[in-house]
């Protein structure tokens, strides 16, 4: 397995990318895997998982590409590039193998949280052929996600100052006034709120037939209603769907290094079709 990293230029922005390449052509599995990171602090908490997944899949013959999206991680761009449509184009640039040099007959996409929602949107495109989606705790509804990250901001303020200085309304007002709001230490523009208000993947009416594995790390033993409805609708669109619940704290929330072996194995099995 060889790990490389490099920058490509897309639409004036330098995108940082890591690749994980199997040794020797003969061992190749026939599919490549595109790894989609989540946003904000969840990206930092997921980095080690995605890199480990890339290495593991590459040792099983699956070449992987793990780009940092515009204005995220080590890629270029500022708050004005913090945009869902732009990120889908970023990901789409890596599907055909033009930029990463990894050509394969089929493409699997693994996404975590918002990265999973982007993977869904990517799979809905006419010009993209994604045969398999592995979605880890996908964000189903953008406004629920926004509520969550604003609440997280208030809890952080509470931990620091004893009480939250902001309110959900004041955070939204600040963004709506054209100011860039600080969420989780990241500068977020008003357009991102518009992105989230239109994000709802629960009824994927443009999704092409593909295989979908939903993986949830949770304390629950059953799928929450939004996730169950999402899978039912994907099945109704002709997709071959399955779900896995892993009873453990989500690695993408962890402040410190945490154990993710079980979810890593389940994710790799889903990609490899085992």
């Amino acid at each position: 397995m060889t790990q490389n990293s490099f920058f490509i230029e897309r639409d004036g922005i330098k995108l940082y990318t890591a690749t994980f390449i199997p040794e020797g052509e003969t061992k190749r599995h026939g599919t490549k895997c595109l790894l989609c990171h989540p946003l904000l602090d969840e990206k930092k908490s997921s980095h080690r998982f995605l890199a480990e997944l890339g290495r593991k899949l590459a040792t099983h013959g699956v070449p992987c590409v793990m780009p940092d999206l515009s204005a995220c991680g080590d890629s270029g761009g500022d708050a004005t590039h913090f945009d869902e449509a732009r990120w889908i184009e970023d990901l789409n640039a890596f599907v055909p193998g033009i930029h990463d040099g990894i050509e394969a007959p089929s493409c699997c996409t693994v996404g975590i949280r918002f990265g999973a929602s982007l993977a869904m949107r990517l799979a809905e495109r006419e010009d993209t052929n994604i045969s398999k989606l592995v979605l880890i705790d996908p964000v189903i509804n953008g406004m629920d996600y926004l509520d969550e990250i604003i609440q997280q901001k208030l809890v952080r303020e509470m931990m620091t100052f004893g009480k939250a200085k902001s309110t959900p309304e004041s955070v939204l007002q600040e963004i709506r006034k054209g100011h860039h709001a600080d969420l989780d230490g990241f500068t977020v523009p008003e357009s991102f709120i518009d992105n989230l208000s239109s994000l709802d993947i629960s009824n994927p009416n443009r999704l092409k037939r593909c295989s979908i594995t939903l993986i949830l790390q949770t304390h629950r033993r059953e799928l929450p209603e939004p996730h169950r409805r999402f899978l039912d609708n994907c099945t109704g669109s002709g997709c071959d769907c399955m779900s896995k619940i892993i009873l453990s704290p989500p690695f993408w929330k962890a402040n410190d290094i945490c154990e993710f072996r079980k979810v890593l194995d389940e994710t790799a099995s889903a990609v490899l079709g085992k």
């Binding site: 009480k163 004041s170 453990s248």
Partner: protein, 83 residues
């Protein structure tokens, strides 16, 4: 008032935070952060747990650390919200 709020809260906290202790081992007056290593993500879990368990929505101004200091202070907050 006779209710099961403390018991329900202990079960919810142990389950949602995957604490490796029995619910009854949580002492009502022990500092949750110092004793059980509860951090901002854990408090977020408790906030969501309170919403699911009791339908409590945190109003602006209610994100106060003092409410989350001990199991007893969370229970007092829940009772005040339920009144």
């Amino acid at each position: 008032m006779s209710d099961n709020i403390e018991k329900e809260l202990k079960e919810m906290i142990v389950e949602r935070l995957f604490l490796q202790i029995a619910p009854d081992d949580i002492e009502d007056d022990k500092n949750l952060m110092e004793t059980y290593g509860i951090d901002s993500f854990s408090i977020m879990e408790i906030v969501v747990g309170l919403e699911e368990l009791y339908g409590i929505r945190f109003a602006p101004g209610e994100f106060k650390l003092s409410y989350f200091k001990t199991l007893a202070s969370i229970a007092d907050f829940v009772r005040a919200k339920k009144e």
